[in-house]
Symmetry: C2
Subunit: 200 residues, 2 copies
């Protein structure tokens, strides 16, 4: 199964080969690799270096904790995420120290999440980020303080054979990756106008 | 000047060596490299594959366009960003096709921005992302349609000697990179509780 991105100009293999699988092997992730993922997130840039990212991490070797985190995902995600050896919630500190909104908080959680994903790829791991999170339930279960918002979840592990998945999920797993063309979102001079350097 | 991140477990060099400089060489960025940056952003993940990221790009070889984009930054950023060969605005499509809010829009712009930054690093370029943008002015200047929000700006180029900067900026340029420790943002089981695999 080749999921490598087709691009008009080459991109780094850690980005080209990244995708979000549903089939994960049961193999656990080494402690040191978990620390690497967190260090990758830690050294991300953020507005005013406020570092609004927080991660609640559960590993399958602690079944009770794992079930608690799994229960924070919407059912559609629980179906396949139950097989990942590591699950995380990404939480944004949406207010600064003065109680003012940090409008970049969730954007910067995105920066940290992508750093984490790139690091995972470099360790032979894959990640699947999810918007489908029971955010209120998660905030209650983990006693997330005011000024913080549960934003997404991330499953981490080693790629498994899509044949391990139920039929409907296997079908989605085997679909090619698709994206809008560059001219749909890269502009220059005016909104909707393509830069001269865009391939035609 | 060594800005490499100090980490408890190794992280990929594209992440470890990333930082946000203010001193950029005048050297322009190759057209193909600009396409690579955009392809890296393009193949990022997003909630429902909605791909909310949009980029308005100005290169210095089009001085009028460059000045227009530079004028969208707050003055403190214009001081040094004027020397970068490439400036971009990152714009989020914050509503979906039905007009409903996409709560992941700016988070996913963050994912795309970090992909772009990693790609830049792999090409020997550095990026400096900015929250300090005159967002309303930018939206007017570029006629950004309703349902879209100008979110951040990104300067891209080749590292220059910090001695090229004014005194106050040079001082900031030479400061070591600092981050909160892992235990401040990595939790397991309960909010504030460190996972057993975190180094002590």
């Amino acid at each position: 199964m080749n999921k490598t991105a087709e691009t008009a100009a080459a991109i780094h293999k850690l980005l080209a080969k990244r995708w979000s699988p549903r089939a994960f092997k049961p193999d656990s992730v080494e402690d040191e690799d978990l620390v690497s993922l967190m260090e990758a997130a830690r050294w991300s840039p953020s507005a005013g270096n406020m570092q609004p990212w927080h991660f609640i991490v559960a590993t399958k070797d602690q079944p009770e904790e794992f079930q608690k985190l799994l229960g924070c995902l919407v059912e559609g995600n629980q179906r396949w995420a139950k097989d990942a050896p590591v699950l995380m919630l990404a939480v944004a500190k949406v207010q600064d120290e003065e109680g003012d909104e940090n409008r970049c908080a969730t954007h910067d959680v995105g920066l940290a999440a992508m750093s984490l994903v790139v690091q995972a790829m470099s360790l032979g791991l894959h990640c699947h980020q999810m918007a489908g999170v029971k955010r209120k339930h998660a905030a209650e279960v983990y006693d997330v303080p005011g000024g913080f918002e549960v934003w997404t979840a991330i499953a981490v592990g080693y790629l498994d054979d899509p044949d391990e998945l139920p039929d409907d999920l296997r079908e989605r797993e085997l679909q090619p990756r698709v994206r809008r063309p560059l001219e749909a979102f890269v502009f220059s001079g005016a909104w909707g106008e393509s830069p001269r350097w865009l391939p035609r």
